[in-house]
């Protein structure tokens, strides 16, 4: 199967209020250029927003920056968008975070960001080390109809 990189973007954003909207708009534009449906673009934008909020609220990083990379590729049977959201903060334990998670559908006021990311995206992989930062890699697919 032929895979062609069609769109790539890298952003470094300051951790200021609402900066997640800039990240979401950027990936939304890239995904629309890849021909993705509105619903899948919206899901991706919501996932990026939650990843950026987690970085801003919980990373405790000294440089106050979020590093984003978006890669859109076309494949024979559709397209995919890869998203990396990185911070240089304290890291966290994803399993511990998941263990605090409630069952989907039960009301819970905080701590649902990671769950929303995992339910909105097709693949999610988290690389994190204590005081070594965190990278959330997310993938969204769109098959040709």
């Amino acid at each position: 199967m032929t895979t062609t990189a069609e769109r790539q973007m890298e952003l470094t954003l300051p951790m200021v209020p609402d900066i997640e909207i800039a990240a979401a708009r950027a990936v939304g534009n890239l995904a629309r250029e890849m021909g993705m449906s509105t619903e899948r673009v919206d899901e991706m934008m919501h996932a990026v927003i939650e990843a950026c909020i987690n970085a801003r609220e919980h990373s405790g990083c000294a440089d106050n920056r979020i590093y984003l990379r978006f890669l859109g590729t076309s494949q024979g049977d559709g397209s995919r968008v890869d998203i990396w959201v990185t911070d240089h903060g304290r890291g966290f334990d994803p399993e511990e975070a998941r263990s605090r998670r409630q069952t989907p559908g039960t009301p819970h006021k905080r701590g649902r960001g990671l769950q929303l990311i995992e339910l909105h995206m097709d693949e999610v992989d988290i690389s994190t080390t204590k005081n070594g930062g965190t990278t959330v890699h997310m993938v969204k697919y769109e098959k040709k109809s």
Binding site: P17, I21, D42, P104, G105, P107, H108, R110, R112, H120
Partner: protein, 116 residues
């Protein structure tokens, strides 16, 4: 960079409708809460949130919406939502909000069911 949420209120004979426009984050959620609590203090017990012009919510904003629902339920009232995008609808279900507030496709359907 700021994304200010605008909230408009329309009083109805038997309740009120809140119209939101923009991003529901922590600040937007607080703005909705302030308007909702003013209405509750004024005796409103049926509240419909029309999110037709809101395309993005975050988990912090939703947590504030859950607080509004809980406060209204404590007072014996009810809150419903209408005109959600498919992704916001899905997000509300994940967050558990859909268990405590009805969700309608249109304002007309909501108003009829709620008796606004």
């Amino acid at each position: 960079m700021t994304e200010e949420l605008k909230v408009a209120v329309e009083r109805k004979p038997h309740g009120a409708v809140l119209y939101t426009k923009g991003y529901i984050n922590n600040v937007g959620g607080e703005e909705i809460a302030n308007r909702a609590y003013e209405l509750m203090d004024d005796g409103v017990r049926t509240l419909l949130l029309n999110l037709r012009e809101t395309k993005i919510v975050n988990s912090i904003g939703i947590s504030i919406l859950i607080e509004i629902i809980e406060k209204m339920m404590d007072q014996g009232g009810k809150i419903a939502f209408c005109c959600l995008t498919p992704v916001i609808h899905k997000t509300f279900q994940i967050m558990g909000l859909a268990n405590y507030a009805s969700i309608f496709d249109s304002e007309e359907a909501a108003a009829k069911e709620l008796g606004l």
